[in-house]
Amino acid sequence: MIAFATGKEVMLVMSTIFIGILLYMMIVQGERKKKVYNIRRLPAMDAIEEVIGRGVEMNRPIYFCPGTGALNRLEATSTLAGLTLLSYIANMAVKMGCRIIVSVSKADVYALALEIVRTAFRLEGKEEEFVEEDIMFMPQQKSAAGMIQRENVAATFLMGAWWHEALVMIEAGATVGAMTVSGAAYTLGQLPWFVACSDYVLIGEEFYAASAYISRDPAETSLIAGQDYIKFICLGLIFLGSILATMGIPLLSNLFGGG
């Protein structure tokens, strides 16, 4: 006997509407009409090449970490976004001849990171230069702080889901004069430190938009536009809910479980 789970009806309706909008934008606007939406400038993305170039000039490696999140938990999307950026940064570093060091704390993410960097070398025809030991498995990610200092890295890229170790790693980079480009979304508690201590930062949704920003693919930019439409719907609901609640009609707050 199949039945809908009780108490999830509103979420089902909203999810269907949101996914419908996104699929419409991706398939119709992006893939059929090939419409490329403009994405506002993301200074952190524009700075990546310059930061890697600095590493080449100083003959120092760059360091990348895709956060401490796993792929089977809530923070998976942040980790995936981090791995997407690893692919982009590793390609650029290999092309520019800059050594890239990666440390990963989760075994499943480690396997992907290893393959991403190996592929970057393979694509540039430099497979023999790939050093597997540069992709390190560090179950305690904060211990990468010592490695950052020992390797005297020129830049640290911290992109993923973070907890307390974020600050340790940013500060370890700062002590050796490394530039920091960071991106965080899932754990809001660490965002202030990223904003305060990094040279460039991708905050929240910017972090997820990085993939579309890199590719400028019509379907990907259409998804970002769809994301904005959903945001307008959310804003409209918040505005309407505030007015109704002020008038003593808690219709929307009851509907969405706000109490």
């Binding site: 692919s87 075994a107 480690y110 991403i116 694509l123 020992r150 500060e171 997820y208 959903i230 945001k231």
Partner: protein, 212 residues
């Protein structure tokens, strides 16, 4: 890249799509057969994650063994690392976690060193705060003032100086910070949905070392 790599990647994407959409459906459906099957798949994924650990620990061991063999940079800490990784692992596997030696290594060595490392965080907070609150621009000045009021509002003795610290600090947290955080949260939630949808429709391939 070879067609073999592409085939493997396509199979991975197909499995992700099927399992991903199944879990989306499972969340909204109440049916014992489907819910139980989802539980079984979760169990299988946990086992798979366990096998990945072998790859990670294997790489770490190889890296440090190589370093010791050629007496490279920091080769002595490599010995410490290998001993501290493999000795508890072997004891734990051979005599289970209830073994007194294993318990001693965990509670008397691992936990204190881990906590000591965690303690370093307080020094990093201090140095990060110093760099952050240096008043170089209007933004950092506003940040500094907000931080001062919030800190003063949370310190009990400051109410003797001025009773307004606590309400002002609370207002900054409840109104200014909450408004900003909610805006970012909505963006993050929708961004997560978009990223998940890209994966579930097979558009996102970079995390599998693929190209668009």
């Amino acid at each position: 890249m070879s067609s073999y790599d592409d085939s493997i990647r396509n199979i991975s994407i197909l499995i992700t799509m099927i399992i991903g959409w199944f879990f989306v459906l499972e969340y909204f459906v109440k049916a014992p057969a489907i819910n139980n099957f989802a539980g079984t798949i979760s169990g299988i994924s946990t086992c798979l994650l366990g096998t990945f650990t072998i790859v990670g620990v294997g790489n770490m061991t190889r890296h440090h063994v190589k370093n010791i063999m050629k007496q490279g940079k920091n080769w002595m800490p490599s010995i410490v690392l290998l001993v501290s990784c493999w000795v508890p692992l072997v004891i734990g596997l051979a005599f289970t976690r209830t073994n007194p030696t294993y318990a001693y290594l965990y509670s008397s060595l691992y936990l204190p060193t881990s906590q000591a490392f965690f303690g370093i965080l307080s020094f990093y907070i201090l140095s990060a705060s110093y760099r952050t609150f240096k008043t170089r621009s209007l933004d950092s000045t506003v940040l500094l003032l907000a931080a001062i009021f919030v800190m003063m509002g949370n310190a009990p003795a400051t109410s003797i100086i001025w009773s307004g610290f606590s309400p002002l600090g609370g207002w900054i947290l409840d109104v200014c910070t909450a408004a900003g955080v909610r805006g970012i949260s909505i963006g993050i939630a929708i961004g997560s949905v978009v990223t998940a949808l890209r994966v579930l429709t097979g558009r996102e391939r970079r995390h599998l070392a693929g190209r668009e």
